[in-house]
Amino acid sequence: MKRDILLCIAVAVSVVASYMAYVAVQPVRKDLYFSYTHVPAALICFLAFFISLIASIMYLWKRGKRYDRGAEVSAILGLIYGAVALISGSIWSNAAWGAYWNWDPKQTTMLMLWIAYMGYLSLKLSIGGVEKRALVGAVYNVLAFSTIPLTFLSVTLWQSLHPQAAEISMSLPIKLTLSLNLIGAALFFIYLLITAFTVWSLEDRVNALIYEKGEIGGGD
């Protein structure tokens, strides 16, 4: 029920944000329209990986299975948002800089980040034992998070076509629209995270019930 309320608020905020983005606010720089989807996707991707990092640290500290599940679920969602950010970024790049892929430091470090987290999932899938898988995954996840500061700093460390956040001048209505988009995206992400975590928990419950009934090998 709480999830449904969260979903309703997220949809309402997104609808208002969409109205403001495409009807009410007309930016002078037309490519700013890309920011309404690209920026939320990228920031939510970082948020998801940050939550995954916290869950992994909690696992290493408390050794609770649910922390390992939380880290995994959050990383999967982060990868989906990351893929959307990469694709939308390259379409924006083609429109603004003339090529889909420029090996720009921001694009390259973002791709490295994405590959690092794909490695996290591959690693978890490749290890058999539950305890060992969770432990190795948590350690790898903490190490993989180091690619996020690198992505943020890439714009200042190397010459980049990608603007820094402080360099972009936006009028108040555009900032407000972008903020609404971010709030809507964050609420929707929290909804998806809770739902995904519930699905994974129920899968564990189903497996436990099947085991209790002695149906191993006979279920779907």
Partner: protein, 45 residues
């Protein structure tokens, strides 16, 4: 200017979220049904 590209980016963003939303909710309802059946069977034994 950029109308097609902006539409494409919005389409990709919302389609990804919608697919995820539908898949998770379908999986949730399937699992709840499965648990109800398994728990029903357990009580029946």
């Amino acid at each position: 200017m950029y109308v097609y590209e902006v539409f494409l980016v919005s389409f990709i963003y919302w389609t990804a979220l919608l697919v995820l939303f539908i898949w998770l909710n379908r999986r949730l309802s399937v699992l709840r049904e499965r648990i109800a059946v398994l728990e029903g069977g357990k009580r029946g034994r």
